[in-house]
């Protein structure tokens, strides 16, 4: 099959085609490795686990963001067009800059906040399967960037926290072990937060882990409204 890859060498952007002998069961990632090992070792891409859990290899395949490692070539039309993710700065070929992405994740305080935890003498916190189920799906985010790459709000405003960071914010707000969501709510209701979302739902459509970031944003909006009402009346 023909692979048409959008490349960038640090200065120039250009298209390059490679012919890859594919066979049943082969993934797009395996084809990228085939190209690197046999045809052109200057091709750069990120990959690690090749089992859809590390989040390294999200690229645009025939127009849609996907994990290269879980995309079977047999499901794709010839030629297979591979491009770097949109809404990220391209560093080289298929490699994009994730610095801002991870900085935003950090901004939402993605960790348990409670003041009765002692580092040196931890205790078992009780969490029922029902309580676990409230946030578990949102803890599955692999931070691959697919959601951000299709987000119309992220496309137009660079400081928007974006769907992945908001998923993380919701995941911790919904965790029964977290005791103080106030700071997180302040951040996500700021001008860079949930109100920027266009509700286009594109993120939920492309998430390889089927997390539905758009739903997390809706749930956070509800929390933000309650929080601002409480603040108004100084509850």
């Amino acid at each position: 099959m023909e692979f048409r890859i959008r490349r960038f060498d640090g200065e120039n952007s250009f298209w390059q085609s490679y012919e890859v002998p594919t066979k049943k069961g082969m993934t797009v990632l395996e084809c990228l490795y085939y190209i690197r090992d046999n045809l052109d070792s200057t091709l750069s891409f990120r990959a690690s686990c090749r089992m859809g859990i590390c989040g390294s290899c999200a690229v645009k395949i025939n127009g849609k963001p996907k994990l290269a490692c879980e995309t079977q070539v047999s499901e794709l039309k010839n030629p297979i067009v591979v491009e770097p993710l949109d809404n990220f700065k391209v560093l080289k070929d298929l490699v994009v800059d994730f610095e801002g992405f991870f900085a935003k994740h950090k901004m939402v305080k993605p960790f348990i906040v409670r003041d009765d935890i002692d580092y040196n003498s931890p205790v078992e916190l009780i969490q029922t399967p029902k309580e676990l189920a409230k946030y578990y799906n949102y803890s599955l985010c692999i931070k691959c960037g697919a959601c951000v790459s299709v987000c119309p709000a992220a496309a137009t405003s660079e400081d928007y926290l974006g769907p992945a960071a908001l998923v993380a914010a919701y995941r911790f707000c919904a965790d029964s072990r977290d005791k103080d969501c106030k700071d997180r709510i302040e951040i996500i209701s700021s001008e860079r937060g949930v109100w920027r979302c266009h509700s286009a739902m594109a993120c939920s459509e492309v998430c390889p882990k089927k997390i539905e970031p758009a739903k997390a944003v809706q749930l956070l909006r509800r929390k933000a409204i309650i929080h601002s009402i409480k603040k108004l009346f100084r509850w």
Binding site: D9, G10, G25, T27, R36, D37, N38, D40, S41, T42, S44, F45, R46, A47, S48, C49, R50, M51, G52, I53, C54, G55, S56, E70, L91, K92, D93, V95, D97, F98, F102, H105, K106, K109, P110, F111, I112, I117, Y119, P122, V123, E124, L125, I126, Q127, T128, P129, E131, L132, Y135, Y136, S139, L140, I142, K143, A168, F172, D175, R177, D178
Partner: protein, 565 residues
Amino acid sequence: MKQEYDVVVVGAGLAGMRAAISAAQKSKDLSIAIIAKTYPIRCHSVCAEGGTAAVLRDDDSYDLHAWDTIKGSDFLADQDAVEFFVRECPKEILRLDNWGCPWSRLKDGRIAQRAFGGHSVNRTVFAADRTGFHEVHTLYEKMVSYDNVEIFPEHFLTNLFIEDNKVKGVATINLKNGELVAFESKAVILATGGAGRLYGFTTYSHQVTGDGIAIAYRNGLPLKDMEFFQFHPTGLVPSGILMTEACRGEGGYLINKEGERFMKRYAPEKMEIAPRDIVSRAMWREIIEGRGFESEFGPYIALDLTHLGEEKINERLPLIRDAAKKFVGIDPVEEPIPVRPVAHYTMGGIHTNIKTETPVAGLYAAGECACVSIHGANRLGSNSTIECLVFGNVAGNMAAEYALRNGRMKITSEEIAIEEKRIYDSILGKSGDENPYQIKKELNETMDKNVWIFRTESELKDAVAKIKELKERYKDVEINDTRKGFNTDLLSTMEIGYMLDLAEVVAIAALKRTESRGAHYRLDYPKRDDVNWLKHSMAYYTPDGPRFEYIPVTITKWQPVERKY
């Protein structure tokens, strides 16, 4: 360019991040850099699936966990290290609970535990079948809450700076711009993971190329017990993707072509949840003797979960179901999964003592790159993620204490210039006729064929000769990509160089050990030989290949006995 920190952690998987947290917790005044060749959450630890062992309930005891681990190790584990280790495990599980890890729960909300190979009781704590993934994300998210930890993602380790047997920092390439960055520091922790990509059929992520182990080795540190490589029984055919031991812990069967649960002939009591070395050997024997299934991707054994039911599979093994569907088009609810044994874990590594200290002052190693040793000749499932947490914590503490007591030693601009010249002139700028990826392919084929589950003198000798040939040819490789920014061609070529050094150590260590113990099985020496071989191998670098010494195993209260399951 030079950066200055008190503690530098290399590697941002479970052990590295746990170490960084521990050092940061020790003192707010310490500055800590954590360096990794990927982003932290892209590390191989995310691939750990089944769980993490710890004594939590009254039906279990430290002595029992220790005994299971020591018996599993085929008595090569150091028993003082194991006794310390088992006592630290529960605290780490609870810490992760307190930090947000979504552990799977019992109905009453307490942390659940499942059965695992070689453990006498249900001891394995888990988060569905994504345990490593959740542990990694929990640690990462905890780590970013510390202001004194700075993350340097996509920095590739190229060397250590050591003077008068004291560490003074590390050299890295910042992948983004290709510049050399030296980190000058009081203490260094290596937590760079195993070396599994020496093999072609492997569960390991592409990035696990043994960089830290090889760099330590080249700098004169001894590598311990490198002949012991674990083969996990159930790698998905053909990709090698891990099908967790929890599949069997939850009740799955291994079935041969004749429809037989053949483990009854190899481990009648434990059956499918005997330790990994025993199950892998049994499966390989079934395959050799013609009782495997045939496929276009070679022989396989059926991992049958169909009797577990859809509900249990969805709750306990969702990743397995998803992966089997996506990668081989099989729904384990309906059909068995095709599997065969697969290279999975590096029991050996950088020699450390029980406190994670290496022979170089200020230099510590933890996690899979280190060999303490608690796993000996065969690691039990769910003892590795917890090892990363326990010894990551120890390393972080030790390094922090060392940094509080000692000053930084200067890395001179000449030293940095020498490293720059080595990389950009001698490696990147060199012309040659060899394709590094062809060398890697041949190395993988050699390891898969000659340094596999059943080993013989003649095959190991062939492997050593082939690796030496590949090392010669490697001197003549050419890197096609000459640009500096995100040069993955340079990165991969350097990784292949590391792998060749380590493969040579593994093959020669295996050739020298004329007995069968744990994962190291010699068809020509099929018995364990405690008289001559109850000892650790120590490989030291020389330009002509490794030189070996041996050190005794620490026995506290469990004398070696015959291993039956």
